[in-house]
């Protein structure tokens, strides 16, 4: 796949359709992959696409599409939802991006691989239901369901939203996804248990802002947390409860716009399951306003900024026991 992608990128660069390429390149370690922009064909030697390329590149296209010339972007299905959501919010100039959809069969989570005692990782390959991990000690085999990231195990869609061209097979929306199971578990807790659960998770937050910075829904020119007029901009928290407020505010800000790409949880150095907060919102929106997937439809107003006569009454909060 990687070679075919490089070849296609070279073609498009050569015939002048695009002047840059958005993709991924390795960092210090093979699993340490970051999104990268390649300015010409020669730079594409560093282009990688493998099972560590989980990073969502859509957010980078905001700035890239403001520059001169068109950029080629390879988007995985989940990236394409973020891309379409950003289009809806007028953040990306669609004309300036050439989108090639690429399939994704689930990306590996380095933490899970390490937890299996596999170290010195050099590279990764997919073979049927297994990953073959190349290490300095030789090849190791690990079942995919044990090494895949949580978001890939509960993948919502293998189908892209808005692409100019597909490479490889186009997939389907996955109606069977179990992505709300864990949320349902949390819902079943008593308010006190739930509070304890979240206090436990969120109290580990070091407020590095990685979750916000990676989030394709958090694209504000100037984030409220950086705005001295907002009264919530303090970086050094006066109490740990303020950190919780950071996450609650952020969850509200991305409610109805979060595509459930899972980047926030992926980048969190403290392994806080942030996606559960967002999934709770998504689940609620689905239940209260009807099925809604952010990014799936570029024209639709999202339920949080829309009003219809069928909307639930605010009293629903009480009916669901929200006044306890």
């Amino acid at each position: 796949m990687q070679e075919a992608m490089i070849a296609r990128a070279k073609e498009l660069l050569a015939d002048g359709s695009v002047s840059r390429v958005m993709g991924w390149k390795k960092g210090e370690f093979s699993y340490d992959i970051s999104p990268a922009v390649f300015e010409n064909a020669d730079q594409l030697v560093d282009f990688v696409y493998d099972d560590f390329c989980g990073a969502n590149v859509s957010k980078y296209l905001i700035n890239e599409s403001k520059k001169e010339g068109k950029i080629l972007a390879f988007l995985k299905p989940c990236d394409s939802y973020s891309f379409a959501q950003l289009l809806k919010e007028h953040r990306i100039d669609r004309e300036k991006v050439y989108v090639i959809g690429i399939p994704s069969y689930g990306k590996a989570d380095i933490n899970k691989i390490r937890a299996k005692g596999i170290d010195g990782v050099l590279g990764i390959k997919s073979e049927g239901t297994d990953f073959i991990v190349d290490t300095i000690y030789g090849e190791e085999k690990i079942a995919k369901f044990e090494a895949m990231s949580e978001r890939c195990l509960t993948c919502k869609s293998k189908k892209h939203v808005d692409v100019d061209e597909m490479m490889g097979e186009e997939g389907e929306w996955n109606a069977e996804s179990k992505r709300f199971d864990k949320v349902a578990e949390l819902e079943a807790m008593t308010p006190d248990e739930r509070f304890e659960f979240w206090r436990g998770e969120l109290s580990r937050c070091i407020r590095c802002n990685a979750c916000r910075n990676v989030c394709p829904a958090c694209t504000c020119v100037s984030c409220v947390f950086d705005n001295p007029n907002s009264d919530i901009n303090n970086k050094a928290a006066a109490s740990s409860f303020e950190e919780n407020m950071f996450h609650i505010i952020r969850a509200f800000h991305v409610a109805g716009r979060c595509t459930d790409c899972g980047e926030c949880s992926r980048v969190c150095p403290q392994n806080i399951p942030l996606h559960l907060l967002n999934r709770k919102f998504i689940k609620d929106i689905n239940e209260l306003y009807g099925q809604y997937q952010a990014g799936a439809n570029a024209d639709e107003k999202y339920p949080m900024v829309n009003f219809t006569f069928d909307d639930c009454e605010p009293g629903i909060v009480y009916k669901r026991g929200g006044n306890q």
Binding site: E89, H90, C220, V221, N227, N229, S230, D231, H253, N306
Partner: protein, 662 residues
């Protein structure tokens, strides 16, 4: 640092009985920036206002806090007072220590503490207040009346009489509304057409009035004084300016099987029709659902008959946009559908009719020229049973909870007219209560009972069964506690009336509020009964609630006077407390525009290039201050906090919250 003066009002004993006003003043004097604090019996009185003015001058105050009743009551009064001595009116804040404090607490200590906290919050806000200057917007000196019933007609005539232009948008081919269908009118029994027709003619001939008949309002943009309204003129397939109203086409059209809605479907009309002789405008209309030419392309009889050449089968709906300063809603009512009231056999027998159908049966312009016969066999009915409150004052789902108000009187009218014209008919009226307040109304009712021998029976009809050519009526007489069985020839149901079905979507277009029954709500039930809470939108007739003709006309006149008051102004002073977006922080994400109920937000792509980063074009929000109503929806929806409201900035509100939580 501001120099703030605090003025605590006793409101007689309204506040002072539960709040220790002296203590409130003394405590607030300790707040930073407060240089003067006092209390007085009636702050809103002239003496009270002078106290404020004098203190501003003597103490060199830069801000004022009044602890009194709700700002809805007297904020304007106090703003005027401070402005009179040169202070910007937006440097004043009102802390509501009456409705939100003294009236809802009993314990003096608690209430006093709360009053102090509320005052402290207001002081905190004033510290961040800045002078604001209200903009002015011009007023378009033309009114739109939606609905051309008697309410719309009267209102339009009164506005036009004052010299302003008025357009009437009526969805039917003619104006006139329900009054055109009514035979005689209570309590004087003069003929409805005779009193309505001259008004319809006046409307047609008035130079200041333009009628858009067979038209609907499609869109409403703008705000008080400056509405832009999209009007759809439905294709009537007849050129309105050419048709002379001769009616030849309506006699020759071969398609005769079209239900005649003027007679409520009791007879038929042709596919091309003029609703009735006095219609305004008197032009023909083709019913596209029935016209053979429009459906199959074959026929064309009317175009051959019409010597004027008015028929145009290719006519399309026309869409136009007009500017208005004020909008009157006069969309009236309709009787409810009776399909759900099976017990009265309405859908089983043609001889069970609604009261409005009965009006047509009695009317000289009705299906039988005014000779009352049964629709089924055209025989004169000898026994007629009237049932009041069908669907009114009802607790079941298919009914309406309210009293339709007019049914007692018109049923009385019907009963009396039957006995008068056909003295050998037996007439029964079943009622729950007879409600006849109003000038000469109870006298009217008593005449029906005493002079015309109408049998008024307190009780409800349980069931009507068509059997042979009779209608078996089972009912109970609650006063004698008897079961009654009446063999009736006709049953007349006084169906509840409800708001027109088009009213709800129209309210959404106008952002005007409605009650749960889809009647438009007034700005104040008692003190502002003809204004909607949406500035520039006024209410007349049954669109606001059930009422009879005299009441409708009175309300329409009142409504016209409010409209004239608005149109007489050259400018409206705007509200300076409007939203504004900080373009350095704005994402251009459209969240704000999505939530703005008034369409006040638009987007521009602006150049934010800096030498260091090269060109940078960004889409940013911009608020039209003349359209913005300061509702604040956008400021809370904006993720980045770029949107803020003058006079209610996030900082001001947070400082109030902080002061309260201190």
């Amino acid at each position: 640092m501001q120099r703030i003066g605090v003025f605590v009002c006793h409101c007689g004993t309204n506040i002072a009985a539960t709040v220790d006003v002296k203590k409130v003043a003394e405590t607030l004097l300790q707040e930073p920036g407060v240089v003067y604090a006092t209390d007085y019996q009636y702050m809103c009185s002239e003496a009270g206002q002078n106290m404020i003015k004098d203190a501003i001058k003597a103490q060199n105050l830069t801000g004022v806090v009044i602890c009194s009743c709700s700002p809805r009551m007297h904020e304007a009064t106090f703003r005027k007072a401070v402005a009179a001595v040169g202070m910007n009116p937006y440097m004043l804040e009102v802390a509501n220590i009456r409705e939100q404090c003294s009236w809802i607490h009993k314990n003096i200590e608690e209430a006093t503490e709360k009053a102090i906290i509320l005052g402290r919050a207001a002081v905190a806000k004033v510290h961040l207040n800045a002078p604001l200057i209200a903009g002015q917007t011009p007023v378009t000196k033309r009114a739109l009346v939606i609905g051309g019933g008697i309410a719309g007609i009267q209102c339009a005539l009164d506005i036009a009489d004052a010299g302003y232009q008025v357009d009437i948008v009526e969805k039917e081919p003619t104006v006139g509304g329900k009054m055109t269908k009514i035979d005689k009118t209570f309590p004087t029994l003069d003929c409805s057409s005779c009193i309505l027709t001259p008004k319809m003619v006046d409307v047609a001939q008035n130079e200041n009035i333009k009628i858009y008949s067979y038209s609907e309002v499609e869109s409403v943009k703008g705000f008080v004084g400056n509405f832009t309204v999209g009007i759809k003129r439905k294709a009537r397939y007849v050129k309105e300016d050419i048709c002379t109203g001769c009616g030849l086409c309506t006699e020759k059209c071969p398609q005769k099987k079209v239900p005649n809605d003027y007679n409520l479907g009791l007879d038929t009309k042709r596919a091309i029709y003029i609703p009735f002789a006095q219609a305004v405008p008197k032009v023909a209309t083709i019913d596209a659902d029935y016209c053979t030419m429009l459906k199959t392309g074959k026929c064309g009889v009317c175009s051959k008959i019409c010597t004027a050449g008015a028929i145009d089968y290719t006519q399309q709906d026309e869409h136009l946009e007009e500017q208005y300063g004020a909008i009157v809603v006069a969309t009236g009512y309709n009787p409810i559908k009776l399909d759900a009231f099976d017990e009265f056999a309405y859908s089983q027998s043609p001889d069970v009719v609604t009261s409005l159908e009965f009006e047509r049966l009695m009317s000289a312009s009705g299906p039988n020229g005014g000779h009352l016969v049964r629709p089924s066999d055209h025989k004169e009915p000898k026994t007629i049973v009237f049932v009041q409150c069908v669907g009114s004052r009802s607790t079941v789902e298919c009914g309406k909870p309210y009293c339709s108000k007019i049914c007692c009187m018109y049923t009385c009218k019907h009963a009396m007219l039957c006995r008068e014209k056909y003295p050998d008919t037996e007439v029964y009226v079943f009622y729950i209560d007879v409600r006849t307040p109003g000038k000469n109304y109870d006298e009217f009712y008593r005449r029906a009972v005493e002079e015309y021998d109408v049998h008024y029976i307190k009780g409800m009809v349980g069931k009507v069964c068509p059997e042979g050519d009779k209608l078996k009526v089972q009912a109970s007489d609650l006063l004698t506690n008897e079961q009654l069985h009446i063999d009736a020839d006709m049953v007349v149901l006084a169906a509840a009336i409800e708001a027109d079905k088009s009213a709800r979507p129209l309210a959404t277009l106008l952002t005007a509020s409605m009650d749960t029954n889809d009647f438009f709500t007034e700005a104040h039930a008692k003190l502002r009964p003809v204004e909607s809470p949406t500035a520039g939108v006024f209410l007349a007739g049954c669109a606001q609630g059930p009422k009879d003709i005299p009441e409708t006309v009175t309300q329409a006149g009142a409504c016209a006077s409010k409209v004239i008051g608005l149109l007489a102004k050259d400018h409206l002073v705007g509200n300076p407390c409007v939203a504004h977006s900080d373009e350095m922080m704005c994402n251009g994400c459209s969240t704000c525009a999505n939530v703005c109920p008034y369409g006040a937000i638009t987007y521009e792509t602006k150049d934010f290039s800096r030498r260091k980063d090269g060109t940078l074009m960004r889409r940013v929000a911009s608020v039209n201050p003349a359209v913005c109503q300061g509702c604040g929806c956008c400021t809370v929806a904006c993720p980045s906090g770029a949107m803020d409201l003058y006079g209610f900035s996030t900082k001001q509100i947070m400082s109030e919250v902080d002061a309260i939580c201190k």
